[in-house]
Amino acid sequence: MRFSIEFKGFIVIRTSHKLKLLVYLTNIISFTSFALPQHLHVVMRPEKAKVISQLQQDILLLQGYKPADGSAVDMGLGLISEAFPNGSFPLGAVHEFLSQCAEDLAATSGFIAGLLSRLMAKGGTSLWISSTRKLFPPALGSFGIQPDRFIFVDLQKEKHVIWAMEEALKCSALTAVIGEMQEISFTSSRRLQLAVEQSQVTGFILRKNSQNINTTACVSRWKITPLISESRDDLPGIGFPHWKVELVRMRNGKSGSWEVKWEDGRFQPVFKQASNVQVLQKKTG
C-alpha cells in the first residue's frame, strides 16, 4: 500500500469542496485499512493512522459533530459508546427505534427512558407525542425520571404526530421529543433532522409494526428486544430488565449488537460481544 497525498492544495479549496474531497479520501483510506487482514493494521505506519484519524475528526466537525467535551452527556452505555461518532451519543439528532410487537415496544420505551434519565438529569422537559399511546407515566419513575416532567400530546391521526413532532423539535426549550408512529417517509425524516440541527433537541422516533423499513435521514436505527432477565444471587422471581440492543445503523459510527441490563438506576452492559465482529466483517466484505 502506498499513499502519496498532497495536502498543499487544500488551502485554496472552498469548504464545501473540501468536505467532499475529505470524505472521498477518508473512504478510500479507511476502506483499504478495514479490508486489510488484521496483522497489516500493525504494519500501518503510525503517522498514517494519525492522518486518518485527523481527517475523520475534521469530517465530523464539518458535519456538526462536536468532539467529546464537557457538553456531551455520558449515557452510561459503556462499551456501546465506542460505536458512536467521537465516542459520545449524538445529541441534537433524530434516532429511530424499530419494534415489532407490544413487548418490543415496552423494551424500547424502557431503553429510551434510560437514555432520557441521563439527558434530563440536569432538568428539562420532554414531549411524548403519539396517536396510540399506551405508555403508563408512573412507570417512568423506576427509570429515574419524574413522570411529571413529561408532557403527553395524544393526537388522533398519525400525520398530525409527524407535524407536531416537527414543531416540537424546533422548540429549543425541550430536552427531547419522542414520537410514536408506524411509517415515516424519507422527506419527513429529513424535515425532522433539519429541525433538530437548529434547535439541538434530541428526537426519538418509535416505529411500531412498521411494514416498510425505508431509508430515513435519522442518525441511527436501533432495535431493542427483551431478553430473559437474570436475577442477582439466584433469587426467585423476575430480575432486572434485560435487553438485546441492536444498533442497525449509525451515521459515522459502527453498528453492533449488545446485551444491556437496567440495574440500580443505570445501564449495565453485559460483556458478551459475540456478534459485533461478525457484523463488521459482513459490512466490510
Partner: protein, 497 residues
C-alpha cells in the same frame, strides 16, 4: 359620563316580518290572529288594515265586517320574542350592550357610542335607516334614561332628547308614556290628567295615596331619580376591543390588519394591568347579520401580540367574509394575572416555566384541537386512577410518585381477557394464551392484591402477577376475583420493559 339610551319601537314587528317573507302581502290588508276563549282575536294588523280602523284586541269577525277581503294569518306565540332577540343581536354593531324590550322594542345602551357615528342625530338616523332598509317600520329615540327614550319613541315628536332635558321632553306626553298599568292610565284620564306636565306639580304623598307605590317608582325611573339598568342579551366582556369598518372588509389582508390592530390595543391594556389572556375570541359581524368567529386558548396567560397573532393566523382561513365584515370584535373571556418574570442570569435547560414551551403547546393545541397533558400522581392504588391530569403546566406535586411497586411501562387502557392455566389456589399462572399465541411462564412475582376503592366503585379485587415467558417478554397479568368464586377471570393489563 352622562348615560345615553336608545329605544327602538317596532310598530308592526310581526306583520312586517310576514310581509318580508311573503311579498304578495305587501299591499293588501292582513291581520294575525289567535284563538282566545273560543273566539279569534286580532293580535297584529298591518299598516293598511290599521288605517281602516282595525286594531289589536279586536274580534276577527268585526275586522272582517270592516274589510271583507282581509287576509288572515295564524300568529305564533313566541314569534315577537324570537324576532326581537335576532334583531338585538344584529344591533350589537351599534353598541355592545343591547337588551330586548318586550313586547315590541329594543333598548340600546349607547353611552360613549354616539360620537363614533358623528353625534346623537346621525347615530339615530343610521340605526333607523338600516332597520328600514331591512324592511321594518321603526321609530327610535335617544335620551338620558331608558324610560324617557321609550316614551319619546312612542309618543314624542322630537326624537333626540338632549342631556338633562328629561322633564321638558316628558311634559307634553300623555300618561301612557310612563308605562303604567292600563287601569291607572284610565283613572288618570278620568281625572282630566291628559299630560304628564299636569302631574309634575302634585305632591308625591297624594300621588302615592291615589295611584300606588308603583306609580311613584315609574316616575322616578323615567326622570332618572333612580337608576334603571338594562339586561343585555350578551353579557359585555370586560376585556373587549371593537373595530368598526367604514367599508365592509372582504380580503384576508384586511382581516389580518384588523386582528393585528385589535390585538395591539388589547395586549397594551392587558400589559398595563399586568394581566394575560387564557382564552380569546375574534368575531366578525357580517353585512348579512351573521357573526363569524374564531377562538384560541393559551396554556398560560399571555399578552404577546406576535404569539397570539400566530395562534389566530392558523384559523383565519375558516372565516367566511361573504359580502363583507362591518365590525370586528376581540374578546378575552378568561384573563389571569401575568407578572413579568425575572430573567435568569443564565438560561437553564428549559423547565416547565419556559415561555417557549407554553407557546409551542398553544400552537399544537390550536392546530389539532388536542390539549397536551401533564400527569401528576393521585393517591389511589387502582392503577388506572393512580394519576390525574395536571390543571396547568406549572402545578406542583402534592404527593410523590410511588416507586415501591413495579408498574408496567406499557399499560392497556382496557385489560384484555386471556386463557390461563394456573395451579390453585393463588399461584402464578404456568401458561397463558394471548392473541392466539401461547406463552410458557418461566419466572413470576406476585400476587399483589389491589382492592376496589368501595367509596368510588363496587366490584371484585385484582390479584396482579408479574410474569416472564420463555423468550424473556415480561407481562402484567391479573385475576379478577377470588379463586373460590368459580367465576374469576384472567386478564393481561400491561407489558414490562
Amino acid at each position: 359620563m352622562a348615560r345615553r339610551f336608545v329605544s327602538i319601537w317596532f310598530r308592526h314587528l310581526t306583520t312586517d316580518w310576514f310581509a318580508l317573507r311573503q311579498p304578495q302581502l305587501q299591499d293588501v290588508p292582513f291581520v294575525l290572529c289567535t284563538p282566545l276563549h273560543g273566539r279569534m282575536i286580532v293580535t297584529a294588523a298591518n299598516t293598511i288594515a290599521e288605517s281602516n280602523g282595525i286594531d289589536r284586541g279586536m274580534v276577527l269577525a268585526d275586522a272582517r265586517a270592516i274589510i271583507s277581503e282581509l287576509q288572515v294569518l295564524d300568529d305564533r306565540s313566541d314569534l315577537a320574542e324570537r324576532l326581537l332577540k335576532r334583531l338585538a343581536e344584529w344591533c350589537i354593531r351599534f353598541t355592545p350592550s343591547v337588551a330586548v324590550d318586550l313586547p315590541d322594542g329594543i333598548l340600546l345602551d349607547a353611552t360613549g357610542c354616539c360620537h363614533l357615528w358623528g353625534g346623537d342625530q346621525s347615530y339615530l338616523q343610521e340605526i333607523v335607516k338600516k332597520l328600514k332598509a331591512k324592511g321594518y317600520d321603526v321609530r327610535a329615540a335617544i335620551a338620558d334614561t331608558p324610560g324617557v327614550a321609550w316614551a319619546v319613541a312612542r309618543f314624542g315628536k322630537e326624537l333626540v332628547v338632549g342631556s338633562n332635558m328629561n322633564i321638558e321632553a316628558l311634559l307634553p306626553l300623555p300618561p301612557e308614556a310612563l308605562r303604567l298599568d292600563a287601569e291607572i292610565t284610565e283613572r288618570l284620564h278620568k281625572l282630566g290628567l291628559h299630560r304628564i306636565g299636569q302631574l309634575m306639580g302634585m305632591p308625591r304623598s297624594s300621588l302615592r295615596r291615589r295611584f300606588g307605590q308603583h306609580f311613584i317608582k315609574r316616575l322616578d325611573l323615567v326622570l332618572g331619580r333612580q337608576e334603571e339598568n338594562i339586561k343585555p342579551i350578551l353579557p359585555v366582556e370586560p376585556y373587549q376591543e371593537r373595530l368598526p369598518c367604514l367599508d365592509p372588509i372582504v380580503t384576508v389582508t384586511g382581516i389580518e390588519i384588523a386582528l393585528d390592530r385589535l390585538l395591539k390595543t388589547l395586549c397594551y391594556r392587558l400589559q398595563q394591568e399586568q394581566k394575560g389572556l387564557r382564552l380569546a375570541s375574534f368575531k366578525g359581524h357580517r353585512v348579512d347579520g351573521k357573526v363569524v368567529q374564531v377562538d384560541i386558548g393559551t396554556n398560560r396567560p399571555s399578552h404577546n401580540v406576535t404569539h397570539l397573532f400566530k395562534l389566530f393566523e392558523i384559523k383565519l382561513s375558516t372565516i367566511e367574509p361573504a359580502l363583507g365584515i362591518e365590525l370586528f370584535v376581540l374578546e378575552a373571556p378568561k384573563v389571569e394575572d401575568h407578572f413579568p418574570l425575572q430573567e435568569k442570569l443564565w438560561e437553564g435547560s428549559g423547565g416547565l416555566e419556559d415561555e417557549r414551551l407554553s407557546e409551542l403547546l398553544d400552537r399544537l393545541s390550536n392546530k389539532t384541537g388536542v390539549q397536551a397533558t401533564r400527569y401528576l400522581p393521585d393517591e389511589h392504588y387502582w392503577p388506572e386512577w393512580s394519576l390525574k391530569p395536571a390543571s396547568s403546566l406549572i402545578e406542583k406535586l402534592t404527593t410523590e410518585w410511588r416507586k415501591d411497586k413495579p408498574r408496567p411501562l406499557q399499560l392497556l387502557a382496557i385489560p384484555e381477557r386471556i386463557d390461563v392455566t394456573a395451579p390453585i389456589p393463588d399461584y402464578p399462572p404456568m401458561l397463558f394464551q394471548h392473541k392466539g399465541k401461547l406463552h410458557r411462564i418461566i419466572k413470576a412475582d406476585g400476587p399483589e392484591r389491589i382492592e376496589q376503592e368501595w367509596w368510588l366503585q363496587q366490584g371484585q379485587h385484582r390479584d396482579y402477577y408479574r410474569v416472564e415467558d420463555e423468550s424473556g417478554q415480561r407481562y402484567w397479568l391479573f385475576r379478577l376475583g377470588h379463586y373460590d368464586d368459580k367465576a374469576f377471570q384472567w386478564f393481561i393489563h400491561g407489558f414490562f420493559a
